[in-house]
Each structure stands twice: as structure tokens, then as C-alpha cells.
């Protein structure tokens, strides 16, 4: 009896705790959005974050896409060979990169890089009272720190995804023409004929959502960091893990919304 009630009690507490956390994160997200829209704006901060988040993520996202596109071509060729359908390689590489792998892998790489960096930076600022200092200098930390980061990530991750799509398709083309005996012009023609605007567009929308989530998780965990080095470490881990899980979960929901018949 007591075991049963105790375990129900634990379960209930965990459910309540999760709901409370969802509520806190949602409230945080809404406040960031309000601060993003309402002046004063900090353009200098925004430009800095556009560079830090977008530009400096290019190598990571590019390399990820290149290797993924190449591996994808090999796999589809091997799988297609079972049905004598090797010719589908260009179209499946293109659709796979643009709809799924470009945004998801790009988003996950950005989560590892950007969510961690934001959480560590803001967590350290919290612990060393820099965030309190901002407040006393008449500057709202949500506006000065969180809003530019979230906006920059929401704007730049779709661009990263677009670049990743192109590089991934190029990776597939490279492997297909050099290792699998495809004709270069035919491969590119196939890709161009097959790919539709919404294949790419849906991936870019996903990228914007993932970018928003990554920066949001970095800011949320950083600004609510516990005390000391340990608190910052935990905030960083939580930011990366929660951003990654949210990317995968929202990817499923977005795919369901965009493509389910």
C-alpha cells in the first residue's frame, strides 16, 4: 500500500516538476520575444551574435553536410542496387539532405557548438554577478543578452541549413561521380529536375525553429545557472541535451505538419 502510494507520489511529483519546467521555459521564451520586438535594440550585440553563431558555425555545418551527403550516396546506391534502381541516388540525396539531414544535423551541430557556448558564457556572467551588474547599469539582461542571441540564431541557422544542403548535395555528387560512375551533368540535371521549392523551404523553416530552440536553451540554462563552476557546467550540459532533444522532437512534429498526407 505505502509502496504504491509512494511511487504514485514520486510519479506525480515528476509530472508536476516537468509541467512546471515547461511553464518556466515557455514564459522565458515569451519574454525573450517581447524584448526582441520592443525597443531599445542593441544592433551592435546582434551583429556580434550573427557572426559568432552564424559565420563561425559554417565550417562545422559544412563538414557535417559534406560527409553526410557522401555517405548518403553510398548507402542509397547500395540499397537501390537491390531493386536495380541505382538511378534514384541524385533525387534521394537531394530530398534527404534538404528535408531532413541538412536541418537536423546542422541543428544538432549548432546545438553542440552554440547552446554550449551561450550557456557557459551567460552562466559565468550570472555566477560572477555580471548579469546583476547589467541590471544596475539600467540594461535589461533579457534584452541585452538573450534577445540578440535568440534573434541571431533564428536568422542564421536557416542560412546555415541552406549552405549545408548545397554542400551535402555536392558531397553526394562528388562520391557518385568519382566512385559510383555517375555522369556529372546527368547527376546535376536529375537533382535540379527533382528538387522542389518546398523541399528546400521546409528545411529552412525547420532551421529557423531549431535555431530559436538552440539559443533559447542556451540563454535559459545560462541565465538560471547554479552557483560556482559546477553550476555553470551543469547549465552547459543541460542546454546541449535539452536543445538536442527539442530539435529532434520538433523535427518530428514539423515533418508531420508539413508532409503527412
Amino acid at each position: 500500500m505505502s509502496v504504491v502510494t509512494a511511487s504514485f507520489g514520486t510519479l506525480g511529483r515528476q509530472v508536476l516538476g516537468t509541467l512546471a519546467a515547461i511553464g518556466r521555459v515557455t514564459g522565458f521564451a515569451l519574454r525573450v520575444l517581447v524584448h526582441m520586438l520592443r525597443p531599445p535594440y542593441y544592433p551592435r550585440e546582434l551583429v556580434g551574435q550573427l557572426l559568432a553563431i552564424g559565420w563561425f558555425s559554417l565550417p562545422v555545418v559544412g563538414l557535417t553536410a559534406l560527409f553526410t551527403g557522401g555517405a548518403l550516396a553510398l548507402q542509397i546506391y547500395a540499397g537501390g542496387a537491390r531493386f536495380n534502381a541505382e538511378a534514384v541516388v541524385p533525387s534521394i540525396v537531394a530530398i534527404g539532405m534538404a528535408r531532413e539531414l541538412g536541418p537536423v544535423l546542422g541543428g544538432l551541430m549548432v546545438a553542440g557548438r552554440v547552446a554550449a557556448a551561450i550557456a557557459a558564457e551567460l552562466g559565468t556572467m550570472k555566477v560572477t554577478e555580471q548579469i546583476d551588474a547589467l541590471t544596475t547599469l539600467s540594461t535589461n539582461p533579457m534584452k541585452f543578452l538573450a534577445a540578440p542571441r535568440v534573434l541571431a540564431a533564428t536568422l542564421t541557422v536557416p542560412l546555415l541549413v541552406a549552405v549545408g544542403d548545397a554542400i551535402g548535395i555536392m558531397g553526394g555528387w562528388l562520391v557518385s561521380t568519382s566512385r559510383l560512375g555517375f555522369n556529372s551533368a546527368v547527376y546535376l540535371q536529375n537533382t535540379a529536375d527533382f528538387l522542389q521549392v518546398w523541399d528546400v523551404g521546409s528545411g529552412l523553416v525547420k532551421g529557423a525553429v531549431f535555431g530559436f530552440l538552440v539559443a533559447l536553451m542556451g540563454c535559459y540554462h545560462g541565465m538560471n545557472s547554479g552557483r560556482g563552476a559546477q553550476g555553470v557546467g551543469r547549465a552547459t550540459t543541460n542546454a546541449v541535451v535539452s536543445a538536442s532533444v527539442l530539435i529532434l522532437a520538433s523535427n518530428y512534429l514539423l515533418t508531420e505538419a508539413f508532409f503527412s498526407a
Binding site: 531599445p40 560572477t128 547589467l134 541590471t135 544596475t136 539600467s138 540594461t139
Partner: protein
């Protein structure tokens, strides 16, 4: 005039402030003394709204601190944090000129830099530190940069949390004199926390001693030495024997 009445603050089971009553008259320099960990820094943060008190009232010039425009409220304050709290992503001069580079006090960058260099000079730092980053400075230099930042926008009310810890005696003297000048020449209200009794004598008009979550003694600095409160006399003399418990 800052007025605190019945201020309480606990962190979990630990009661830090247990009914603080204190008034800080306008245009004067008040120093808060008290043992380490008695809640002096928490007290300042309560006034600024960085820490939410559990109970009690805080009024500034008769108006409750928690009401009205928070930006306008904070614009009147400057704060030197105990740990400096410099922004390590910005060079020194941008730290000092932070308020002058954005918001309502925004001025051209070149002018803001001039003000920053002037404030740095007043805390004994030359123009060569202006373009360094806080991490490249010694602890005492960081403290002085932070002090320059606190006074840069010439706020009406300034809080200094241990302005002279980590400084050599001569530099301490410079900072003490600076705080005194800010009060007497600029007419600012200063509230300073310090452990350094020579600083207390140099800075203070009034002294308040925080002990066990309450103001134990409060009065003009001239009455301090004649006071008979055993807690205060033990603190001033720095004796290990007395009513204030020391673990050994």
C-alpha cells in the same frame, strides 16, 4: 534618503537579515561594518532589487523602491560589486563607459571614451589600461575599474561593496579620498561596506554595524570610539575575545 524598515531575507533555512531598520540621509556617507557573512552584500542587493526581500519596506526619497519605473529608479544608482563584476567580453574603457554608450545617457563614442579615461585617472589608472580586457588586469586594478564604472554616469546614490579590499595602503587612501570627494563635492549619497577601520574613519559620516541580521549599532562616526556596545568595541579593536563568537 533611503529608508529600510523591518527587512527580512532568508536563503532556505538560513535567516540572513532579520529585521533591518536603517536610514541613510541624503548627501551623506554611511558605512556598514559587520562580520563576514552577516549579510551586508545581501542588504545592498535588496535595496537595488537584485535580491527579493521576504518582508519589510524600502523607500527611496519617500517612494517605495518596488513601485514605478524601474529604469528610472536604477538610473539614480551606481554599484561597485564586491567581486568587480566587470564584463569580460569588453575592453576596460567600454566597461567604464557602459552607460554612456547606450540607453538614455548615450553620447558619441569618442566623448564616452574621454569620460572613461577621466574616471580611470581618478581611480589611479592610466590610459594604457583602457584597451586591455578585464582578465588582463590584477585583482586590485579590476576593482578600481569597477569603481570607475560605478561613478562614470555620476549617479545620485552610490553603493560601494568593499572598495579597498585588495588594494595597497596608498591606493586605499586614494580611493577613500575619491569616495569622500564624490559625497562632499558632487553631493552624492554613498553607502559603503568595508572591513577596513581606517577606511571607515576616512569615508564615513555615519556608521552602522550589522550583526545577527539586525543593525546592532548606528550613529555618527565621531561617536563610534566612545560607544560602549561590546559588539562594536570588539569589532573596532579587532579582538578575538568578546561577545562576537569566533570558531577556533
Amino acid at each position: 534618503m533611503i529608508e529600510l524598515a523591518g527587512l527580512h531575507k532568508s536563503f532556505g533555512p538560513k535567516a540572513v537579515l532579520r529585521g533591518v531598520d536603517l536610514s541613510v540621509p541624503k548627501g551623506t556617507s554611511t558605512v556598514i561594518i559587520g562580520g563576514s557573512g552577516t549579510g551586508k552584500s545581501v542588504l545592498l542587493k535588496c535595496i537595488l532589487g537584485l535580491v527579493e526581500p521576504d518582508a519589510g519596506t524600502i523607500t527611496v526619497d519617500g517612494r517605495p523602491a518596488r513601485q514605478g519605473d524601474r529604469d528610472a529608479f536604477l538610473a539614480r544608482f551606481g554599484m561597485l560589486f564586491q567581486g568587480g563584476a566587470l564584463f569580460d567580453s569588453m575592453p576596460v574603457w567600454q566597461n567604464v563607459a557602459f552607460r554612456l554608450l547606450r540607453g538614455t545617457l548615450k553620447m558619441p563614442r569618442a566623448a564616452a571614451r574621454e569620460v572613461a579615461l577621466d574616471k580611470l585617472r581618478r581611480v589611479g589608472l592610466g590610459p594604457e589600461v583602457a584597451d586591455l580586457y578585464p582578465a588582463e588586469l590584477s585583482g586590485g586594478m579590476q576593482k578600481r575599474v569597477s569603481l570607475a564604472r560605478a561613478i562614470a554616469a555620476e549617479p545620485q546614490i552610490i553603493f560601494f561593496d568593499e572598495p579597498t579590499t585588495g588594494l595597497d595602503p596608498i591606493m586605499s587612501g586614494v580611493i577613500n579620498r575619491l569616495i569622500r570627494e564624490i559625497v562632499t563635492e558632487m553631493g552624492a549619497t554613498a553607502l559603503t561596506i568595508t572591513h577596513d577601520m581606517s577606511s571607515v574613519r576616512a569615508i564615513a559620516d555615519r556608521v552602522a554595524m550589522l550583526h545577527a541580521g539586525k543593525i546592532r549599532w548606528e550613529g555618527p562616526v565621531s561617536d563610534m570610539d566612545a560607544a560602549t556596545d561590546p559588539y562594536l568595541t570588539q569589532f573596532i579593536s579587532g579582538s578575538a575575545d568578546g561577545p562576537i563568537e569566533t570558531l577556533r
